[in-house]
């Protein structure tokens, strides 16, 4: 499975990648913002994205993905510091499949991924 990890923080991209690779997910692509992510969407089967990023933020990225017929059904999980109910609702309305608030454990990450892939 090819997974796209989007975050302006190299640390957070690595943490997510390490958690994925130690769980058997080998094909990981990284992007530092929404524009880079869109340029790397070919073949992607799951997107894990931060919200607050320069150039193009996560919510804008979600809107772009959902408006593109080629990628409209790719599952998206948002991983972010913003965890208020209203923001979660806004993200879900824009097409995010699920939401993780930082900091998160590997177990939470894997449970959310499993849940969206089953859905």
């Amino acid at each position: 499975m090819k997974i796209l990890v989007v975050d302006d923080s190299a640390t957070m991209r690595r943490i997510v990648e390490n958690n994925l690779k130690t769980s058997g997910f080998e094909d990981i692509v990284q992007a530092t913002n929404g524009v880079e992510a869109l340029a790397n969407m070919a073949g992607i089967e799951l997107v894990l994205t931060d919200w607050n990023m320069p150039v193009m933020d996560g919510l804008s990225l979600v809107k772009e993905i959902r408006s593109n017929p080629t990628f409209a059904n790719v599952p998206i999980v948002m991983i972010t510091t913003e965890g208020a109910k209203e923001e979660v609702i806004q993200a879900l309305k824009e097409g995010v499949n699920d939401y993780i608030v930082k900091p998160f454990t590997k177990q939470v990450l894997l449970e959310k991924i499993e849940k969206v892939l089953e859905g």
Binding site: S9, T11, I15, N52, P103
Partner: protein, 165 residues
């Protein structure tokens, strides 16, 4: 809307616990007048170089949260956060990115605790730097709270600056 000291201290303590323990598997012991004296082996050494990272808080409070810590602790936390690092991979760029992310996560959890979990907030993008002493950290010229923590034998300082703090 200035927030009282106890509410700030309590929110920060909970945020520190959540952030450091989940991300880096370490405990932060508050160093304040209420803290019993630490055993000698846990008393932190003074900083000779300071790495700093800050995350702006934009809404509903206006301010910044800074982390100040020595390079040794910065590297330790980076290694803990990454879990797996290749030989020679731990460089200054990685370390500074890690502490910037730590400040970002801490800021988010701190504001969330202040708002008791259910209000919208907005953070800015983190910044970071390294200076030869705390005096050179670009703290703003506003009211601030400064809280020290003992983490793995080193001092980590959190500074909350801004009119609301």
């Amino acid at each position: 809307m200035a927030i009282d000291d106890k509410r700030i201290g309590d929110a920060l303590a909970r945020a520190m616990d959540k952030s450091l323990e989940t991300l880096a598997f370490v405990e932060a012991i508050p160093l304040n007048e209420d803290t019993p004296p630490l055993p000698d082996e846990l008393v932190p050494a003074p900083r000779t170089t300071t790495n700093w990272a800050k995350t702006p808080i934009i809404n509903p409070f206006k301010g910044e949260i800074f982390l100040l810590l020595p390079p040794e602790l910065s590297e330790m936390l980076t290694e803990m956060m990454f879990g797996m690092l290749d030989e020679g991979e731990l460089d200054q760029s990685l370390v500074m990115d890690a502490i910037a992310e730590l400040s970002n996560v801490l800021a988010g959890r701190f504001v969330d605790e202040l708002l008791e979990g259910d209000a919208v907030f907005e953070l800015g993008l983190p910044e970071r730097g390294s200076v030869s002493s705390d005096a050179e950290v670009p703290l703003p010229d506003t009211h601030m709270h400064k809280l020290d923590y003992a983490v793995e034998g080193y001092t980590l300082t959190v500074v909350l600056a801004g009119v609301d703090f």
